[in-house]
């Protein structure tokens, strides 16, 4: 065969040990023979397909691909080497513009929802409560909204489920959870995501 026994031997070594024909029963020999034929057929199929791809130049830009692989492998080696300074932890360095920044962003601006001045690094937790979103606010809001629905059905116009409401009921919920969140947050170090 023009795809010689080397292929089969290799496949044999890779998949299972080449059977020792002397020790086998005729039945086993026959099965082994059939298996060998099937394996040969599959190997030739693959080889024929690859031959066409290679001969017609359909295989992609192998050189470029290999170059990329080589560069990546090299990069990993360089980066893994502890003697290379590599990346410095972004939180403690000077950026390219010569600036340093605190762990928690300290720019202050007004919240677009309630108008209060908020520190940038704590804006998201503030906004969550301010808008009445989030798990904690939501679960509390549900409880109060049920109460509000009851109230409403009794004729009260107040709805505690509105996220933009400035009603006192929302404020009470917010205060409780807000301070809780502040505690959580200040517990963390600069590693916070």
């Amino acid at each position: 065969m023009w795809i010689p026994k080397q292929w089969r031997a290799m496949a044999g070594l890779l998949s299972m040990s080449v059977p020792n024909e002397d020790n086998m029963s005729p039945h086993m020999q026959l099965s082994s023979h059939f298996f060998g034929d099937l394996l040969d057929s599959i190997i030739v199929d693959v080889a024929s397909e690859c031959h066409r791809v290679a001969r017609l130049g359909l295989d992609r830009n192998l050189e470029e691909e290999e170059e990329e692989l080589r560069l990546s492998a090299q990069a990993r080696v360089t980066v893994a080497n502890p003697s290379n300074s590599g990346e410095t932890n972004g939180k403690y360095v000077v950026d390219i513009f010569g600036q340093t920044h605190p762990c928690v962003a300290n720019e202050v601006f007004d919240c677009m929802n309630c108008g209060r001045p908020i520190v940038a690094g704590r804006f998201a937790p503030h906004l969550e409560k301010c808008m009445g979103k989030g798990r904690k606010a939501r679960s509390k809001a549900t409880r109060s909204s049920t109460a509000a629905q009851n109230r409403y059905s009794r004729g009260s116009p107040v709805s505690a489920s509105s996220p933009y409401s400035n009603s006192t009921s929302t404020n009470r919920l917010l205060n409780g959870t807000y301070s809780h969140t502040v505690e959580e947050y200040s517990n963390g170090t600069c590693e916070g995501p």
């Binding site: 830009n61 470029e64 990329e68 560069l71 990993r76 390219i96 601006f109 677009m112």
Partner: protein, 538 residues
């Protein structure tokens, strides 16, 4: 590559094949055409007789192996005896491998190629196809690849005007660094947002659109009617980033707008960057989608589709072919997409025993191209997933294969780094390294390549198959994730003017490209090479 393309359409025949063609022309090919039979799996074989097994004329099946059918006298010889045949019958050099319908030259002992033969094979394949399959698949096979793709008008997107605007804004800029490079403050677990924003802010066509003020807040319909408009908010961020001010910017207004848009994602907790990306594009789409298209989900197959900036830049089209394994009938559907989510090939990883625990180790061969191969590989749908075949009129086992019908200007690839274990009913993050290239050629994953491969990569002779430059991409941003599934940190690496920058919330630093290559990628952004080169000329 010159050699590659000239070989494809006109493979050079060996002297024996050339000789055979001179004497016999196409008669031999045509005579065996009636015996060609294609399987739904894509292999074309030669079946001469329904009842008898084909055997070698010389050894009568004693030494089987491969069988070759002589094109002149139709006698069968096994691989050991093809030489015997050609020696006994002068000129009977060319045969056909009956398993795969490939030409074989007995004197060269090699597989040879002839576009005329391939044409005969493909013609038979088409003739045999269940009637309804005919259109889409055949069109793809026969389509001339030299058909020029319609140039997206965004390519000439007002670059002059945006360049002018950019230079005018350059007041306080530390001028040696590219404009638009600016840190984003973390507002409280918002690194998922900052990382994606950085990538979007530096996507060339997207950036050019906003910098040339194509979306004017003054004339914005949504805004004037009091509705929120994420595109307007984006415009604000662009102006801020390109203003020349280098102190970190707080995208607070954007967060506020986005939370109003995506109520279900509005919470102070760690979120997924990819989810944010999809949500933001959806938000921008709504701005124009509802105005221009009556049905938000209408996407024209070939002619542009939705014209909002999000789709014009990010939207591509995926093709899905489902083939019935019984009759070969293939049904094709097209779906638009703004990104491609790729599974990691976890079968590449071997198990090793470390301290009595079976640990899966990264063999170091996991690559982005392998993920793309996996994405476009024919997938056997299990017997519990039988699909209805229109031809057979009942549910059958099928094969499904994905391919890319149309590439977007900006290709966003999302690596699904999670693994779900139904046993433990838990998910975990796949931390393994994934190699990704800086230059990416998407040609092998396009529908024409995939369909052609399904038909045995036959040559049609009239296909010019010049490499289409719009399939070549260059990387410009990588979003990386470090940490666990539930908690971690996102960082974006940007490539501007051939220099890589690390954008870690407020901190922007220069990094060597090797750091980027070795990083654990989560989302990778590529832009069409032409646009990348143009952007770098600035």
């Amino acid at each position: 590559m010159a050699t590659r393309n000239s070989d494809f359409a006109n493979p050079k025949p060996c002297e024996h094949l050339a000789d055979y063609k001179l004497r016999h022309g196409l008669s031999g090919y045509k005579s065996i055409q009636k015996w060609l039979k294609a399987s739904p799996y894509g292999k074309t074989s030669i079946k001469m007789c329904e009842t008898n097994m084909p055997i070698c004329r010389f050894c009568s099946g004693f030494h089987q192996g491969r069988l070759f059918l002589c094109l002149i006298c139709s006698s069968l010889s096994c691989s050991d005896h093809t030489l015997l045949h050609t020696q006994s019958e002068n000129g009977h050099d060319i045969a056909v491998d009956i398993e795969r319908s490939e030409l074989y030259c007995s004197l060269c002992s090699d597989q040879v190629y002839d576009p005329d033969f391939d044409k005969v094979v493909v013609s038979k394949n088409i003739m045999d196809m269940p009637s309804k399959t005919h259109d889409s698949v055949v069109d793809d096979l026969m389509r001339r690849s030299s058909k020029r793709k319609r140039l997206n008008p965004l390519m000439d997107l007002d670059l002059k005007r945006s360049k002018l605007l950019v230079s005018m804004m350059d007041r306080r800029a530390k001028s040696c660094y590219p404009l638009g490079l600016r840190g984003l403050n973390n507002l409280g677990s918002t690194c998922f947002m900052n990382s994606v924003l950085q990538a979007l802010l530096h996507a060339p066509p997207f950036r050019n659109y906003f910098l040339s003020e194509r979306h004017d807040p003054e004339t914005c319909k949504k805004r004037s009617s009091g509705q929120l408009c994420l595109a307007c908010d984006f415009g604000v961020i662009f102006s801020a980033l390109y203003s020349g001010d280098r102190t970190p910017y707080s995208p607070a207004q954007f967060l506020y707008s986005w939370w109003q848009h995506s109520a279900n994602l509005a919470s102070y907790e760690q979120q997924d960057a990819h989810e944010f990306f999809i949500s933001v594009l959806d938000g921008i789409h709504e701005r124009e989608g509802k105005e221009r298209n009556s049905n938000k989900d209408v996407f024209c197959v070939d002619n542009g589709g939705c014209q909002c900036i999000a789709h014009r830049v990010f939207s591509g089209m995926l093709r899905s072919d489902v083939t019935c394994t019984t009759c070969g009938f293939t049904s094709t559907t097209y779906d638009p997409c703004v990104d491609i989510s790729l599974n990691m090939d976890t079968t590449n990883f071997s198990s090793v025993n470390v301290a009595n625990k079976s640990v899966r180790e990264d063999t170091g061969r996991s690559t982005l191209l392998a993920c793309l191969d996996l994405f476009t590989r024919p997938e056997r749908l299990g017997s519990d997933q039988k699909l209805y075949c229109q031809n057979c009129q009942e549910k059958r086992d099928s094969l499904k294969q994905m391919s890319i019908k149309r590439l977007p200007l900006v290709l966003s690839l999302h690596i699904k780094r999670f693994e779900h274990s139904s046993l433990r009913r838990s998910s975990r993050k796949i931390d393994w390294y994934l190699q990704f290239p800086f230059s990416l050629d998407m040609t092998p994953y396009l529908s024409p390549s995939i369909v052609r491969n399904r038909f045995g990569n036959r040559v049609f002779g009239f296909e010019s198959d010049k490499p289409d430059i719009s399939s070549e991409f260059e990387i410009f941003a990588v979003v990386t994730h470090s940490g666990m599934l539930d908690s971690g940190h996102y960082v974006t690496y940007l490539r501007l003017q051939n220099q890589w920058y690390k954008c870690d919330d407020a901190w922007v630093t220069e990094v060597d490209e090797r750091i980027v290559r070795a990083a654990q990628c989560y989302m990778i952004f590529y832009v069409q090479k032409m646009l990348y080169c143009k952007a770098n000329e600035d």
